[in-house]
């Protein structure tokens, strides 16, 4: 069986002066049955990429195969087999939830029973409510239901949980997991690390139109060299206030079990394989150098740490260079 998605050297340049290079050579390969995430800040080119894959935008150059088919030849066949949810669609507010799903169901040759789908997404008590009366989370679940009603093999979700409260996000995650558990494929974009870590079998980290890392979340984190992070503040003049001198990164990297160090501005963060080895050594070293410790926390390394390492900046402070 062919791969769910295969992308080679995908590029998209928007005509402008100067031209905006939204996607600058992306390669992807998504297998059937996996949940694949495009993780990146706003403006990284995620939406442009997913819309090209959905057949809504034409690529400037590159090669795209969806379920072994190509948009230019088999557009209708692909549309019958995929389901999508756009980043922002305002469905007709005057229609009820059930009517909306029936409308979308009528577009597909085969599909699921709208009422059954409503029950599965726990929207049963809202089936006859107008879309305009639904909460944000319910609307988003309806949007996903519209994507599922054609019983797709491949589901595209663009920022499915943006702007939702934690409970709505968890509800939506379980819907996506159920779909994936039926051995079908999901491609989603997100700028939430926890979402990517929790939902995705594999994650491609996208920054400024390129994939800068791609692997399972676990492997990406492991690539940091340590699965734990120690963050602390230290200064030689802490008691008197003021910035003062801070320990050098080199001095920190020399500590046992420390595989990486970076300066976050206020705090220092160390990637560590075995915290129980590193922490006593760190404390001793700081005392030797005459530094006072202001705070120390340890946590598991996350995709955020991976992102900072590979992109060179934090996920939240990317300059929005491209329209999304």
């Amino acid at each position: 069986m062919s791969d769910a998605i295969r992308v080679r050297d995908l590029r998209k340049t928007y005509p402008a002066s100067p031209p905006v290079e939204a996607v600058r050579g992306i390669d992807l390969h998504v297998e059937r049955g996996e949940c694949f995430g495009l993780l990146g800040p706003n403006g990284a080119g995620k939406t442009t990429t997913i819309e090209i894959l959905e057949g809504l935008l034409d690529a400037t150059s590159g090669d795209v195969e969806i379920l072994g088919l190509r948009w230019d030849r088999d557009g209708d066949a692909i549309r019958q087999r995929i389901g999508i949810s756009l980043q922002e669609t305002r469905l007709s507010e005057k229609l009820t939830l059930r009517e909306t799903l029936r409308l979308f169901r009528s577009f597909y040759r085969q599909g699921r029973d709208p009422d059954q789908l409503i029950a599965q997404l726990s929207l049963g008590d809202k089936a006859d409510a107008r879309v305009g009366k639904l909460s944000g989370g319910q609307k988003q679940r309806l949007a996903v239901a519209c994507a599922l009603v054609g019983d797709p093999e491949l589901l595209f979700l663009d920022e499915p949980t943006t702007g939702l409260d934690p409970r709505s996000r968890r509800e939506l995650w379980s819907v996506i997991q159920q779909f994936r558990d039926s051995r079908r494929t999901v491609l989603l974009t997100t700028h939430y690390l926890d979402e990517a870590e929790r939902l995705c079998d594999r994650v491609a980290i996208v920054d400024r139109g390129r994939v800068i890392a791609c692997d399972t979340p676990r492997a990406l984190i492991a690539s940091l060299g340590g699965e734990h992070v120690i963050e602390f503040q230290a200064s030689d003049r802490l008691a008197t206030g003021g910035a003062g001198r801070r320990p050098t990164l080199d001095a920190m990297l020399a500590l046992p079990s420390v595989t990486g160090a970076r300066d976050d501005g206020e705090r220092l963060a160390l990637s560590v394989a075995e915290p129980h080895v590193a922490i006593p050594a760190l404390l001793a070293r700081l005392a030797d150098l005459g530094f006072q410790l202001a705070g120390l926390t340890t946590r598991h390394a996350s995709l955020e740490d991976v992102f900072i390492k590979v992109a060179g900046h934090a996920l939240s402070d990317a300059e929005p260079s491209v329209r999304e």
Partner: protein
């Protein structure tokens, strides 16, 4: 599962009937308009003329005596007596049509009348008519004088350029002359022309039908599509296997469905409230309504094919509709515009629709005996659709 076309049409209908404001504008507004205009032009069975009488001298005879009494007797005059200042003010405000100024005193009038009756043979009333219409003495309001032997008895004060004033002046002159003894050379009979088809409301109803075809087509198609584009619903539909022809056909079908009650309500209202009846067959009316609706739906689609914001589509629609509102003869015949622009006016789809409808409803023509309008509308519909489909942007 029903087809995409059926579901899309059903959705449009649901959205429409669940929007009370839209319902009012589409169905209520033309009715209000027809009522208002119908009443304005109907409830004046016989126009009454308003006449002010001003006496400049203390010894003037009372209004209920002499020739002036004739004015008060005739129901077509509404006579008001007052001072010169008050009368001029009423004239300025358009509250009276003509002011009769009594220039002489009672005694002079009696003797003058006596002599007039005695000496003037009926045919010789011509002497008084000689200065009629009086030559303006500058200014909009001038004084014309009814001259008889021995100088003017009355002066008529009115605006020479106002039709109502001129009519009133002539009627007053007539009445006074007759009361003073003029004999007419022959008798003539007045017959009122009030046949269905000849009244203003009969002329107006086809115009209103055309107007609602235009408004409904442009708003009902153009606005709805741009709204869907803004909501990214068009883009969302594009990502499904929905046949695009079904989508456009559904927009069109729902538009024609909404039109049906719209047109029927207006026609029924005109029939029962004002007795407006089509002189030609209903088939002809329906043919022009259908063709008009298709032409305006096509234009609506064309206007909406690229617009990205509601502001831009509203602007475009007004740009399209405004010239037709003015030129196409909704409220008055488009023949009033200069001959040079007539060929262009006749090319406008609204002119074609209204002319076609008037041809059927007023002149009793069949649809096919107006090939110009018939073919013209068909061309508008097909060209605008073809162009819109080429230009249409889904996202």
């Amino acid at each position: 599962m029903s087809s995409a076309f059926a579901q899309l049409t059903l959705s449009r209908i649901r959205e429409f009937i669940r929007e009370p404001e839209a319902l009012f504008w589409v169905y209520g507004f033309p009715l209000l308009m027809a009522t208002a205009l119908g009443i304005a032009f109907r409830n004046q069975p016989v126009e009454q003329m308003r006449v002010d009488v001003v006496k400049t001298r203390a010894d003037a005879p009372p209004a209920d005596a002499g020739p002036l009494a004739a004015l008060a007797r005739e129901s077509r005059f509404v006579v008001t007596e007052g001072t010169d200042t008050a009368a001029r003010q009423r004239l300025r405000g358009g509250k009276t049509d003509v002011v009769v100024v009594v220039v002489r005193g009672a005694a002079e009038l009696t003797t003058a009348e006596g002599s007039a009756v005695a000496t003037d043979p009926p045919v010789a009333g011509g002497g008084a008519v000689a200065t009629d219409p009086p030559v303006a003495e500058g200014g909009a309001v001038a004084e014309g004088a009814a001259v008889a032997k021995g100088g003017a008895r009355y002066a008529y004060l009115y605006d020479f350029t106002r039709k109502e004033s001129l009519l009133a002046r002539n009627a007053v002159e007539d009445a006074l002359q007759r009361a003073a003894g003029r004999r007419d050379a022959f008798m003539a009979e007045d017959r009122n022309f009030d046949e269905p088809g000849g009244r203003y409301i009969d002329f107006l109803v086809p115009g209103l039908l055309g107007m609602s075809l235009m408004g409904g087509g442009l708003w009902g198609v153009g606005y709805v599509i741009v709204d869907m584009r803004i909501r990214k619903l068009l883009k969302r539909f594009l990502a499904t296997p929905m046949p695009r022809s079904h989508f456009l056909a559904a927009i069109l079908a729902s538009r024609l469905l909404f039109l049906l009650p719209e047109v029927l309500v207006l026609l029924a209202f005109a029939r029962f409230a004002f007795g407006v009846q089509s002189q030609g067959g209903l088939v002809g009316v329906l043919v022009f309504i259908l063709l008009g609706a298709l032409a305006f739906a096509g234009i609506g689609l064309l206007v909406a094919s690229r617009a990205r914001t509601l502001e831009s589509v509203s602007g475009l629609m007004n740009l399209v509709m405004l010239p037709m509102w003015v030129l196409s003869g909704i409220f008055f015949s488009s023949d009033r515009f200069p001959t040079a622009v007539q060929p262009w006016i006749k090319l406008l789809p609204l002119t074609m629709a209204i002319d076609g409808l008037r041809g059927v409803m007023i002149e009793g023509l069949a649809a096919w005996s107006q090939p110009r309008e018939l073919i013209g509308l068909a061309i508008w519909a097909s060209v605008s659709f073809a162009l819109a489909l080429r230009l249409f942007r889904w996202n």
